[in-house]
């Protein structure tokens, strides 16, 4: 795919919001449009927020509530003053002529806006999240037109965002599409079982190679060496002492916490007497 223009980095919050506004669209509307907010860099555009804009679309005309768009942008600016309009989005598979008009409007608001499409109706069985930027084309002086050239799309996550997304992915796998938030040791257990699964996969691969079922791959072998060397080699007594001191620290803190709780409960009872 030719990459002309900036790389588009999208945060998952934007996609989730677009999905939600698609679900809430008016009766009879086939697609939703809205503004994308974010920051522009020299070679990339980072999209971090969005809001939907009401619009009416029919065969031969399109009406977008521009007042609304301006208002919303002002409101959003108060919360995060560093975000600017970087483009707009539309749900749907194709780029229609109306898109051109809307894109023109957005070019007035932002320099070189990007256009994001997300196919929520799943026409091709996938969501097809794509980004475009417009480029003029045609014969200069005579018929000029606009061409939308595709851009490469990457997804960017903050650390905490990634953890949120992981939770959402777990929710996706749950039978009722809902999940509560676990706590404590359950999480450590789950993380440990994940690591265990990964180790099991690696082990089966190694067995296969050893028994000759698969050819050995040198790069994988190097990674395996790295893996095995990553476990630090500490003498048994040193490790014992370190482990014990850490465990003692944690136990002491637990004891103190319990003590404090008992103390305030007692205090409560005495005062109420």
């Amino acid at each position: 795919m030719s990459v002309y223009g900036p790389v588009v980095k999208i945060h998952p919050v934007v996609l989730a919001s677009i999905g939600d506004s698609y679900e809430r669209r008016n009766e009879g509307a086939s697609r939703v449009i809205g503004t994308l907010l974010g920051t522009v860099d020299k070679h990339s555009v980072e999209v971090t927020n969005c809001f939907s804009v009401p619009h009416n679309e029919s065969e031969d005309e399109v009406a977008v509530d521009m007042e609304f768009a301006k208002n919303m942008y002002e409101l959003h600016k108060r919360v995060s003053p560093s975000e600017v309009i970087v483009g707009w989005y539309a749900t749907g598979f194709e780029i229609t002529e109306h898109s051109v008009l809307i894109h023109e409007y957005y070019s007035r608001e932002a320099t070189n806006p990007i256009h994001l499409t997300m196919d929520c109706a799943l026409q091709s069985g996938k969501m097809n999240i794509r980004a475009y930027v417009s480029a003029p084309m045609g014969v200069p002086g005579k018929t000029v037109g606009v061409m939308f050239t595709p851009l490469s799309v990457k997804y960017k996550y903050y650390d905490t965002e990634r953890i949120g997304v992981e939770l959402l992915q777990r929710t996706r796998d749950a039978p009722n599409a809902s999940s509560g938030l676990t706590s404590d040791l359950c999480q450590v257990g789950k993380a440990a079982s994940r690591v265990q699964d990964m180790l099991a996969t690696v082990l089966t691969y190694i067995e296969d190679v050893l028994s000759g079922k698969q050819g050995a791959d040198n790069s994988v072998g190097r990674y395996l060496m790295d893996l095995v060397n990553k476990v630090p080699k500490i003498s048994a007594e040193d490790f014992e002492t370190m482990l014990n001191s850490n465990i003692n620290d944690l136990l002491m803190v637990t004891y103190l916490a319990n003590l404090t709780q008992a103390q305030i409960a007692l205090n409560e009872k005495i005062v109420v007497l």
């Binding site: 927020n49 997804y155 509560g180 993380a191 944690l250």
Partner: protein, 344 residues
């Protein structure tokens, strides 16, 4: 398009039936939250809330029978602007009006706040939550803990004031007698409401796509062994609170000592009076007029108990968090031991 609509309705219906079969406490079933709400809150803190600033925002949703559903949210700008009263109300009104145009539920059902190491039990929170709950009975405050989330698992809790506490706030009677009457301990101030994340089918599709496309390496922060930093900070905050608590206790002790001293003085005074009156009677003089002793001995001001209650609640919260943290870390240490055991 109809598929998406039907999917949404079916997920709403299934969530309604599911809630009926959840826990038995009436009216206290889980609160479903849309996934983009979670992501928005995370993003808001990440971008605007570095440091110890607290970020806040409003939750929007619907109230279905006696259950709450959170379907959207928007952030509040920081309070440290030059125009101090910056028309928060106006901002909120405009935001909600605009959101109504795009069919987003505009019912104010609660608010969210980020917290620093779990310290959120404060007078301000109590007041805000009271005003919300007064308007809408089911509203909650969502507390998002970004530091705990960064350690590996999303930490989001919903709290509501107990009905007992609501009564007290309504009466504005924060004195010791009032609290004693209502029998409120620090454990009965807030009740936690379990949260459920409800993915719509469209979001599920999105999640599948993201998993394919994104090449973010799994970082496994959850299995990180270093704990002393977090533990230190939590203990520091705990110690500060305990100090506050002990000051309060000292105040209360002085108050009760003063009170008892005063009682004694009153008693002595009445006794002397009676003695004098008796003497006068024997001498045939008219008795001294009964003076109003309560005016002479003004009772000392009882210290406000509400703050103590809040501090106790906060300490309890810290202790809970610390215990959770230590139990997780113990598990991790044993994991590390197992790993070492193989080597040696």
């Amino acid at each position: 398009r109809d598929v998406a609509k039907r999917a949404r309705m079916s997920s709403a219906a299934s969530s309604a039936t599911r809630a009926g079969s959840l826990n038995g406490r009436p009216g206290r079933s889980c609160i479903p939250i849309g996934p983009h709400v979670v992501l928005k809150m995370i993003k808001h803190y990440q971008e605007e809330g570095q440091g110890t600033e607290v970020v806040q925002g409003v939750l929007l949703g619907l109230v279905v029978e006696d259950r709450l559903e959170i379907t959207n949210c928007f952030p509040f700008p920081q309070h440290t602007e030059d125009d101090a009263d910056f028309d928060e109300v106006q901002y909120q009104m405009e935001m909600m009006r605009s959101l109504r145009h795009v069919n987003i539920d505009h019912l104010h059902v609660g608010w969210y706040q980020s917290t620093y190491y779990g310290s959120f039990v404060s007078r301000a929170l109590l007041d805000s939550q009271f005003s919300y709950q007064h308007a809408i009975e089911e509203s909650v405050v969502l507390i998002y803990d970004p530091i705990k989330t960064a350690q590996g698992s999303l930490s989001l809790k919903a709290y509501r004031l107990t009905p007992k506490l609501m009564e007290i706030c309504k009466e504005k009677d924060f004195s010791a007698e009032g609290l004693k009457k209502a029998m409120i301990g620090f454990e009965h101030m807030f009740e936690e409401v379990p949260i459920v994340i409800k993915n719509s089918h469209l979001i599920n599709v999105l999640m599948w796509e993201l998993e394919e496309k994104s090449t973010v390496a799994d970082k496994h922060e959850l299995l990180n062994l270093s704990s002393s930093n977090h533990l230190e900070k939590s203990l520091q905050l705990l110690m500060d609170r305990v100090d506050d608590m002990s000051q309060d206790i000292v105040k209360y002790n002085t108050y009760s000592r003063n009170l008892s001293k005063q009682q004694q003085q009153k008693h002595q005074y009445t006794q002397r009076r009676q003695q004098e009156n008796a003497q006068r009677q024997t001498r045939g003089e008219p008795p001294l007029p009964e003076e109003d002793i309560s005016k002479m001995f003004k009772p000392p001001q009882p210290p406000p108990r509400m703050d103590t209650l809040l501090i106790a609640g906060q300490i309890n919260n810290y202790c809970q968090n610390v215990k959770e943290f230590t139990s997780q870390n113990l598990g991790k240490l044993f994991l590390a031991e197992a790993l070492q055991g193989h080597n040696s």
